[in-house]
């Protein structure tokens, strides 16, 4: 079915049916490795001849089992992932690799598995790549990457050698280059934020070459699209935007989301300059350690560099701070960042409603609309 879809339709299909490509690969006899979070180097999985797929929460899905075991303090995304895994939907994976921001999920899954209450879980691996940009963690991160390579070895369908790693890096870089083209189009005002978010994130669920082709098709379709004259907003979210609901509400209010400081959106493409390093492993390490957009990046200068550059652009009309009730970190930065935005005459609005909840979306749209009209 997916073969008949092209361009945005294909990307939207895979965004909505996040495990579809992986299931197709599995049905065709390929081994599939799931990843949770954006700091797991999918190139390593590809180089091993395996099919990588990001395992992401189903937006808005109910989480009755998570309610039993998890506290309200646990982020909705983590709860949804727990539900997905315990419910057996990931059983077809040969391995599920969790990244550091999802360490809590790892612990919960390990425990329910130990208790015999999650018999359909795939094998788990914790990839603990620390995100602070300090020499103190470099050796640990290097060891983590090597441990992941060793963990993949028994599943590998090919020798995981340097040339295969280089080839995998080139493949993902090609997809990233297409994403950067789309990002440029967003700043030109020709791409709705909701569509852009889906087009970018589909890359986590598709094979890189198929994804690059579909994205290239979408970009070609956009070549004659006229720019819309809506206020251009940048989104800074306290939690990964694995759903388009916030964008939909903001754009319903008459704005255009041109970028978001989030790995589900504008930060997926990474820097245009290839990662540095003397070997493919070192380049891989530097890409995922030093370039990933996560809440764990420290110091704040490194974490906020991209945001500050994007917010400072002349064509950014304002910033939406999205701090839903699950926030326990960005709220500490909010007063400082707002003060900075005020100092450079950039408007901002704070959204605290949960965009995943349908009833809240109208309130978000109203809040943004009022703010835009001020």
């Amino acid at each position: 079915m997916t073969a008949t879809l092209t361009g945005l339709a294909s990307l939207q299909y895979h965004y909505a049916n996040r495990l579809a490509a992986a299931r197709e690969a599995h049905a065709a006899g390929r081994r599939v490795v799931g990843t949770i979070g954006n700091t797991v180097p999918r190139e390593l999985i590809m180089a091993a001849g395996l099919f990588p797929v990001l395992v992401a929460a189903e937006p808005g899905a109910s989480t009755p089992t998570a309610e039993i075991y998890m506290e309200p303090v646990i982020a909705p995304e983590t709860r949804a992932l727990f539900e997905l895994a315990v419910g057996g939907q990931l059983e077809f994976l040969d391995l599920l690799i969790l990244s550091r921001p999802f360490s809590q999920l790892y612990y919960y899954l390990k425990e329910v598995h130990r208790l015999g209450r999650a018999p359909h879980l795939p094998a788990l691996h914790m990839f603990d790549l620390m995100q602070s940009q300090r020499d103190a963690v470099k050796v640990y991160n290097t060891r983590q990457l090597q441990a992941l390579r060793d963990r993949l070895a028994p599943f590998s369908e090919a020798d995981l050698d340097e040339s295969r790693l280089d080839a995998a890096l080139a493949l993902t870089e090609n997809a990233r280059a297409r994403q950067r083209e789309l990002l440029d189009l967003r700043w030109r005002g020709v791409v709705p934020g909701v569509d852009a978010l889906q087009a970018i994130a589909a890359g986590y669920f598709m094979a890189p070459d198929a994804y690059a082709d579909a994205l290239a098709g979408y970009i070609a379709d956009l070549s004659s699209a006229p720019p819309v004259n809506h206020p251009r907003l940048l989104v800074l979210s306290s939690e990964p935007l694995s759903h388009p609901h916030l964008h939909a509400a903001v754009e319903e209010a008459g704005a255009l989301v041109v970028a978001e400081d989030d790995w589900w959106g504008a930060r997926a493409a990474g820097a245009a300059t290839p990662p540095q390093g003397n070997s493919p492993m070192e380049r891989l390490l530097n890409r995922y350690w030093l370039e990933s957009a996560t809440n764990g990046v420290w110091p704040a200068d490194a974490r906020e560099r991209w945001f500050r550059e994007a917010a400072s652009r002349d064509d950014t009309d304002g910033v939406v701070f999205y701090l839903p009730p699950s926030d326990h970190q960005l709220g500490w930065d909010y007063p400082r960042l707002k003060k900075w935005l005020d100092s450079i005459n950039k408007r901002s609005v704070l959204i605290r409603d949960e965009a995943r909840v349908p009833a809240s979306r109208a309130a978000i749209a109203n809040r943004v609309r009022e703010w835009l009209n001020q």
């Binding site: 329910v112 060891r143 500490w332 930065d333």
Partner: protein
């Protein structure tokens, strides 16, 4: 609302009347003297000092003669003055929303609220060094407004959780925590030592650090004895509020000669009371435990349930983690021993699997009839499930440990009464 002077005097009198341990009085005296010294040398004369979380190696600062206060201890101090609601609101007014944890952030609020003359014990001055976990953005704010050095700590994930961790933690810590994890903590501690040396203006003496660690081990050994006495005595010999205050009061000064001597006196007094059948509640019927945090904002709250129901609290995390989490024998490389301790410390109390196994072992050891789950730590619910499934009812107590805004006296009283009558009593009867 903060307390009036009359309310503070009344609270002090009530504390005094309910005090059963002599070491509680000696602790208060020491704390007053220590705080007066801190106030004079640090807050007034400007000697540089360190603020950090509970999970940082205080021993390094002790070895460098660098004054240190713990953010959660200070928050507890503010809460004890019934000023937590005021300062929590103050943070909200500054734009830090109510969903952000106030547990360790009240010191930040006191520092920011420069114009308020009614600061707890005169307030604090700006620290020179702020050490806390990397995710604690409140500490980033504190360091920024203070112009302090900020050293973040990243704890490595425990890839292979071992449920009965307390069996290995004292001697087999290299195996328990894993070499890679200890190594990365050690690397970060080297950065911490370098920063602390800059602030202290002198180099760290590792022999002195080792002596301090050995003293800490001896102190935690006394706590271990206290726990055993409480767990095995016929009835509870010391009220839990006093035990918690004593434990943490000593912990914040661990490594000092005073802390060691106070811990020994604590052990001696609890032992004496147990040996002489001096029970907190002679009519003891139900033994309860804290799961998670303690109710620091209102430590006296549960005393009335002793009279009404014969219900006593026998166990909290604070005393038990002091020995199970802190003891690290084999201090040839003292910084490595510290690195091992802090790989998982505190988290093992609530990491799913580890927290549940420990809580159940503790509950059974202390002959607990019911638990009171307090605080919103992740992993707590699975502990509660684990306890419930082993016949120990748990009440999810919906208050913040330090934020008095969340307190509703009548509601809380009814909740606990109902819990004892409808859950604890039947569960105990069923067991018997």
């Amino acid at each position: 609302m903060t307390m009036t002077q009359a309310e503070r005097d009344a609270s002090r009198r009530r504390h005094e009347e309910q005090t059963q341990l002599e070491v509680t009085r000696t602790l208060r005296t020491y704390q007053r003297e220590w705080f007066a010294r801190l106030r004079s040398e640090v807050f007034e004369q400007g000697k540089p000092y360190v603020i950090g979380g509970a999970l940082v190696p205080h021993e390094v600062f002790e070895a460098l003669d660098l004054p240190f206060i713990t953010d959660v201890w200070y928050s507890g101090l503010v809460a004890a003055r019934r000023q937590s609601a005021y300062y929590s609101n103050y943070l909200s007014q500054q734009g830090y929303h109510e969903g952000l944890s106030r547990y360790g952030a009240l010191g930040l609020a006191v520092l920011m609220d420069e114009d308020n003359p009614d600061k707890p014990w005169g307030g604090i001055s700006k620290p020179a060094l702020v050490v806390n976990s990397i995710g604690d953005r409140g500490s980033d704010v504190l360091a920024e407004i203070s112009g302090a050095i900020r050293v973040p700590i990243e704890m490595p994930v425990l890839a292979r959780p071992y449920p009965n961790w307390w069996e290995m933690s004292r001697w087999n810590w290299e195996d328990l925590d894993g070499t890679d994890r200890i190594d990365v903590m050690l690397e970060q501690y080297k950065d911490l030592v370098a920063a602390a040396e800059r602030v202290a203006g002198k180099r760290l003496d590792y022999d002195r650090l080792r002596e301090i660690l050995d003293r800490v081990n001896e102190q935690e050994g006394y706590f271990d004895e206290v726990r055993t006495i409480i767990a095995t005595a016929e009835k509870l010999p010391a009220r839990l509020g006093e035990v918690m205050s004593q434990t943490m009061g000593i912990q914040w000064h661990r490594g000092t000669e005073w802390a060691l001597s106070q811990a020994r006196a604590f052990r001696d007094e609890v032992k004496y009371r147990a040996d002489n059948a001096m029970w907190v509640c002679p009519n003891e019927r139900y033994r309860l435990m804290y799961v998670g945090a303690g109710l620091w904002q209102n430590l006296d709250f549960f005393t009335e349930f002793e009279e009404r129901y014969g219900a006593v609290f026998v166990r909290s995390n604070y005393l038990s983690i002091a020995s199970d989490g802190y003891l690290r024998y084999g201090t040839k490389d003292p910084l490595r021993a510290l690195a091992s301790r802090y790989c998982t410390v505190s988290e093992q109390m609530h990491i799913p699997g580890l927290g549940g196994a420990w809580a159940l072992w503790e509950a059974q050891r202390h002959r607990v009839d019911g638990g009171l789950s307090l605080g919103a730590w992740w992993g707590q619910r699975i502990i509660n499930v684990h306890l419930e499934e082993h016949g120990i009812p748990v009440l999810d107590f919906p208050v913040d440990p330090v934020d008095a805004n969340s307190w509703d006296d009548t509601k809380m009283r009814n909740l606990v009464s109902e819990f004892i009558e409808k859950r604890v009593a039947p569960a105990q009867a069923a067991r018997k």
